[in-house]
Symmetry: C2
Subunit: 192 residues, 2 copies
DNA sequence: CCCATTATGTGACGTTTGACACAATTGCTT
DNA sequence: AAGCAATTGTGTCAAACGTCACATAATGGG
């Protein structure tokens, strides 16, 4: 099997199933792209035109605020990412998406995506279910932020996504946790 | 036109259009319900079986944590609400949905909803677009929590959703802002 | 392999927040 | 209208956090 996103889409079947035909249709409209560390997929102020699927590598979403960078999400292999607000509502992006590791990604132009939705009700159903999944994750993240204090948030990263610490700098992680770099450093010192 | 959710669905057309036929199909599978202040639509530990549409009144989503209540969302007229994780994945709910004002709501059972998705690709497309909208709102809310300090968060509520202060207690609002009741009280004192 | 650059740790200090206790106010019920 | 319960405000104090400054460690390019 030549490299393609089809294998990934199949692995998603527990979240949102797709027939072989729909998967192939989806895969024929994508192109591969190599990204270097630091490359931007979208910048604040631009209009986002694609959705991406990370084959290898990692990306972050962040926005500038008061001379600092606020990291709002980290994305790794086999995840979709896009600036949905910009893509869907044709407005300028209010956050950046940047590669933090070199790698390769698949991309779909939004015109192709919308066309696929119209061609295949199965792909639309896939989109709905995928968005349900995304929404639920986002809602959980939201509750997590409000329910836990900084130390608890760091602890839960340690236990539930330890790989994050291997692939993301502590400076980036600190703003994701909603605290300063120094506070994160001190939390790490006083934990086992 | 007799009371029905159809009028509301039409008003959503800028977010997600529905034909007259699909709207009517959607509306024929709903039932009306009267809720009193304090009624629960879902409790933690139960399985959520419905989606609701608020015609009049207001609801909140909250979870218990360390003897306190963390409010994670407030919902008013003409908005859908459900515990999507519980509804979709058939797991027990990890947060409550409760009416905070008396009113009337429309409800759809999840079996009906899933059946409607299968009957009408237009309703599936509506679901996808509605979820896109929900995801974007949730994502913005997350960024807002990380970007602003408590005082800025309260300020932005004042300017962008002043009605929230009329319909939600300050105790409830404080946990939504991620701060204690007392801190919110002091922020209010030192602002004009 | 060395040096420059970046990332991370730490000390000091002022500010903010949370927790607890209690007072004042509001709102609802009878 | 009175009285009770719930909500909101406030005083005090300790703990947590942010900021600034600088030290140390790790990384990467030439």
């Amino acid at each position: 099997m030549k490299a393609s996103p089809e294998h990934f889409l199949q692995s998603l079947s527990h979240i949102a199933p797709l027939s072989d035909e729909a998967r192939e249709l989806f895969a024929t409209h994508t192109t591969s792209q190599i990204v270097k560390k630091g490359d931007y997929l979208v910048r604040e102020g631009q209009r986002c035109q694609h959705i991406w699927l990370i084959e290898t590598g990692a990306c972050r979403a962040f926005q500038h605020h008061n001379e600092k960078e606020i990291n709002t999400g980290f994305y790794f292999e086999n995840t979709f990412l896009t600036n949905l607000n910009s893509l869907r509502n044709n407005v300028t992006a209010d956050y950046n998406i940047q590669a933090i590791e070199a790698g390769t990604i698949w991309k779909w132009h939004k015109d192709n995506l919308f066309s696929l939705y119209q061609q295949s009700s199965e792909i639309t159903a896939f989109g709905r279910q995928w968005l349900e999944h995304l929404f639920i994750e986002q809602e959980k993240h939201n509750q997590w932020l409000k329910r836990h204090n900084p130390e608890e948030r760091y602890q839960s990263i340690l236990t539930t996504q330890p790989e994050l610490l291997q692939r993301v700098s502590l400076t980036q992680l600190s703003s994701y946790l909603g605290i300063s770099r120094e506070t994160l450093s001190r939390i790490r010192r006083r934990l086992p």
